[in-house]
Symmetry: D3
Subunit: 279 residues, 6 copies
């Protein structure tokens, strides 16, 4: 239902009150078929965008999906056929293409990151650096691409960062104060910047330690100190190119703001089957 | 008011029900100051994001803006000081930084495009390829960067594209049929793909001709045929690097999906003035 | 989709939590047929109000539309048959009749204005003086009646009025300052009150000149000075009765706040078939 | 709060994303004063529209109201002074003027109806035939004009009309069935078309009897049969001109769809003080 | 339509972005059947919750309702069968069960109150003490249980309480001032605390007198003074156990905040027909 | 911001279009003071309801809070003084009292549960059985009362229940399949019904084991098998009276649907300082 609400908002934003071009050219009896095809290789993501989007605009639309979320596409692959009034096909095209290109782009980037890393003991995670208004969809695309999600919001997991410590003071006291108040389904992660903080976090037995913006040598040293029961996350400006250097390290997660911050839309196109000229 | 509604949605998306980290560390009496600074050179855009955003979260927040939309910033420049409860400063930070980085990125890219082009007879325009949900703000950022806006929605200007012609048939009949029905405040633009279409569009005396995805030689030929009274727009996958080649051409507009499609967030940071450790 | 949202709001406003009369008289098995008929001659407008309205209330409703938007109706004409639960037929009746009477009234008034004017070189336009909350529908009704729309909102066209000039000073500077910043799809109109302003507007080569509240002799003089390339709009308290005097003038548009300001609802009625089915 | 939500919707409808005229002419430092004055005599209604409307757009606006809801205004009377950014003054003007003209029009029409009737034993009431989306405000304007409100929605009072009887059958059974189920705070009104129905309604001891579309002779006969304990309402296409004929009749209420169906906006104007301050 | 909006909000509240348990276990092809059964005796209320709720989540769901609102259920009774994707069955279960248990609880409590009272001349009414956000549904459940509704909101009936009198002064003046301004479809009720107030209310001929928190002897005395034309309501902390003592008194209504204030959810359960283990 | 949206909805639900009683008795100049006091002992919860609620209705209201969330109150304690227009004081009273009584009731019940249990090694948790639409506030009240929150929504933690296993088959496979896909900030809890499931859950090293509806002897046996690293939660119809029997057991959490399912509103009252009778 959230998806329908989002798509409604996006169509209203793009269309406004009516389509001054197509609504003056066609009427409801002018029907055609729109084919969405791949122009680039990657991982497709967005089947529900196509389905729910065109259904919202006109619930008599006929929609056939040939590719499912997570499947590979290569240039020329047909992704979907949509049949209905030309009017509606054209009106919905920009928003729908825009969204599935973005989501497929995120899924593809994530899949490439997983491939670059090439270490199935370490997983790739997103961050909270998603596009405002699109987090639910962008985090879904990361999962479709083979990554996992970091926390969804500020309310579902604790992440004590440098700023919190700067304000609060003692890292141990901070962990203790939070732990006393939170429920048993919430994990505690601490971002550490130096060895002293690392040791304090280990001593406090947090669930996850985030090693932020640290060189590989230091990381290698630090991870030896961390017991198996604590999850280790690397973070901080990591790009797909950097990933291979972390292969084989005894770490659990590499989180990459990059996945949703540098969105490379995957090139898809919408082609229409033209009808004959009217007389 | 639209801005407040958008920011409310973005904060709800990011925060959820409460901030399980900061709300368990600080109370309303723990106050501090947050300073937003530039880490990269560019054009700033987002003063109302900072002001309305933090005011929405707490209307007693004290906000001082040192840079206005459209001004140049260089690394180290202080952009704003915000004073209030640590809690609220931290809770709002991600959404606000995220938005002003995106918008400043768009303004900066636009300003660079204008500079690359370096021809004040030709203007840089955006397209409808904006991020769903963020069009109003992204189009504002283009204006702040010195560009202009193409149509805001499908309801405020006519753009007859290849697909419309493919379905409808005759370009002249399409123009005629639309012109009969639209108001006098609406412009008609036609996308042309070949010389025949060009000549028909000229004959139909449209307001704007869009030359899409065409090589520079052909463009140079074609523009000679177009009377001064018709605005000429170049379009189709144009990147900032391509712009210099169009310098000096008798055209009016170069529209670039690139401006809002390849958003390079401008690097800004939020630094907090830490208070002393509690005893 | 906007229409559905509007109708939902209108039904909620009219019905509240439930219909304390019909919900205590009938249950879902009491079914009947409602017939909407014309009691007055005019132009019908509102087929989607009937269809979407009753479908929103109950998507199993059977709806047959006999008249399409823009068609003439005369007293006694059947417009639509709707079959379903009596409950829902009665509950939706007030909102739906109210809306289609208003919209048909606007379409009819517009068509009469076009007829009174009787000059197909001049078109009748609406203004921004629409009923708050109903602009999209009222502007649609104007189009259905054979008129055209003036700008939809403050964001899609420039209209420099007396107040703007009063505050800003020079008419030329105002035009120049705006022209520098707006996109190529936006037209500039200037309202002029005297000959000096007229000459300045012509010199600035605006797209449209609005001659506001001016006597026919002066208009006749002024229009001779305006080149063909500039659209001429008459405005200012013009009523349907005034229109014939402008017939034959070399002007393009007559805009009438009257169309949506003095709404004469067209008389339509809803009659129920108490028991037997229609044969 | 409902008023704020309504005004927000109306401003969004009228302004869109920004005001392409004023936002390119003025900045936030260009300040002025707007004066709202009467151009016609009548009853003013809309002080909260002015106050909440301009406050919503900019909460630093200075607003001085010189006339209160329900007071008489005559041409030239100053109604309000609003001081603030020119931008905002101009942007909000259309919606605010539009609304207060409509509401003052309704209040004035209502006051005239009360005066025409000139019988303080009989009150003038509105109906459910209000403008969709504006009922709360239009019903308020009727009260300001000295009228009273009929039911607000279908959920707050029972009104058994001809259609209900046509479907349900017996008038007594209908009253009985409803009375069994409704609460003690809900009144029951029955619309009667003939004497037989009248006698049945009296026998059933309903709270209110509506005599619909009946000639004065018949009304005079019928009212003699109705006991004092039952409220008598006349209804059905009654215009202000018809009212005097009902003066002195032993009836309680005359309900007029006319009040909100034939809205005559009261002429008010907004004048701007171009440069100098008021002294 | 209001119900759909409410259910949408409730599902969004409970589910969030996705169901991290079921969405990782099942896909859309895993289908099953969910059976809702009674575990306790009572009055069922909530057929539209089940139908609209599951239809909102997936409009291909097959839903069979075996019990209608207001019918008795006993332990083991099957209430509904819902067939569809396991995913959706599980995701919607908590909200739907929660709501129908609450509503059936209210209906059952109301029915028990009616039974305890055992005097069909006196009716049981709810109050405004409903759960914020759920009033429409809770008041419906009271009707389903055989009770009636007190006013729905502050806008549909007058209730002058002790606080009003405390502020305003004279009870007669208050009644007079309100009566002058309200419409003829609105009833006036006065809460009385002592005999003097009672006599004033009788003298003012109000519609309803509420005797609040008064002992049975005093009530018995007072009701003798009240004419038949005035409805008598008892109120003030009355529990189901107290009711029998009022049997036979010449009063009309007993209003009980208890009905919606002490909600005893009726125990219902959702059982799934398990499929065979996958290989 | 979510709180403001919720309170706006609640006020609209309770007030409707206006307060037909107070709005006809008082005007904005009639001012007074409302005092909220305790009539029962317990834990107060709802300071932001009072503050935001009355501020929403009128932002000039003067509000003084004497008790903070989580503090003990005893009969007669003054909780807050609110000064402003009588109108607004009366209009907001029902919603605000209703909410703070509910929330204080939840906080008090939670605090009593913690006291009954009297074992600071075991914490009391809520469940998802909250009132639809009020979860954020009810979970807050549980924290205020000294309890902790179970998961907020279906998206922030995994809870594999009997139904999941019934459909899916193997408990190990279910855990494995989910673990492969979820992020590192999400905990996995499994509900177990018998010893075999217990052993499988231990073997799968889940984060939390929920022992549901099990007798104390069996619990005592089972907890010996569970390693310290796994959190143990007891659940299933546990009431405050049952708690003492679990004191001293090596378990971590007792979750009680009771806390939000059997809400005992704490008795608070609003008393007004009456003004003198008007003359």
């Amino acid at each position: 239902m959230k998806l329908k609400q989002m798509l409604t908002d996006f169509f209203n934003e793009d269309i406004g009150d009516y389509d001054v071009t197509t609504d003056h050219l066609f009427n409801e009896h002018d029907r055609s078929e729109l084919m969405i095809t791949a122009k680039e290789s990657g991982i497709f993501c967005g089947e529900s965008i196509i389905y729910e989007g065109y259904t919202l605009l006109d619930d008599t639309m006929h929609i056939e999906l040939l590719v499912r979320d997570g499947e590979n596409i290569t240039p020329g692959d047909a992704i979907a056929y949509i049949t209905g009034p030309i009017n509606t096909l054209l009106k919905g095209e920009r928003v729908i293409l825009n969204m599935i290109q973005r989501l497929s782009g995120i899924a593809t980037t994530t899949a490439q990151a997983v491939e670059n890393l090439n270490d199935h003991h370490i997983r790739i995670s997103d961050t909270r650096k998603t596009t405002p208004g699109l987090r639910m969809l962008e985090k879904y695309a990361v999962r479709v691409g083979g990554g996992v999600n970091h926390r969804l919001r500020l309310d579902d997991a604790v992440l004590i960062k440098d700023n919190h410590i700067a304000f609060f003071g003692s890292i141990q006291k901070a962990i203790h104060q939070i732990r006393r108040q939170i429920g048993h389904m919430i994990k505690i992660e601490v971002e550490i910047d130096d060895k002293e903080q690392l040791l304090k976090a280990i001593e406090a037995d947090v669930d996850v330690i985030m090693i932020d913006n640290t060189d590989i040598t230091t990381i290698t040293d630090w991870v030896k100190l961390i017991p198996d029961s604590i999850t280790i996350e690397l973070s901080g400006g990591i790009t797909p190119e950097d990933l291979s250097q972390y292969r084989g390290l005894p770490i659990d997660i590499i989180s990459m703001g990059y996945l949703t911050h540098h969105i490379q839309a995957l090139d898809l196109s919408a082609t229409h089957q033209p009808i004959k000229e009217r007389v």
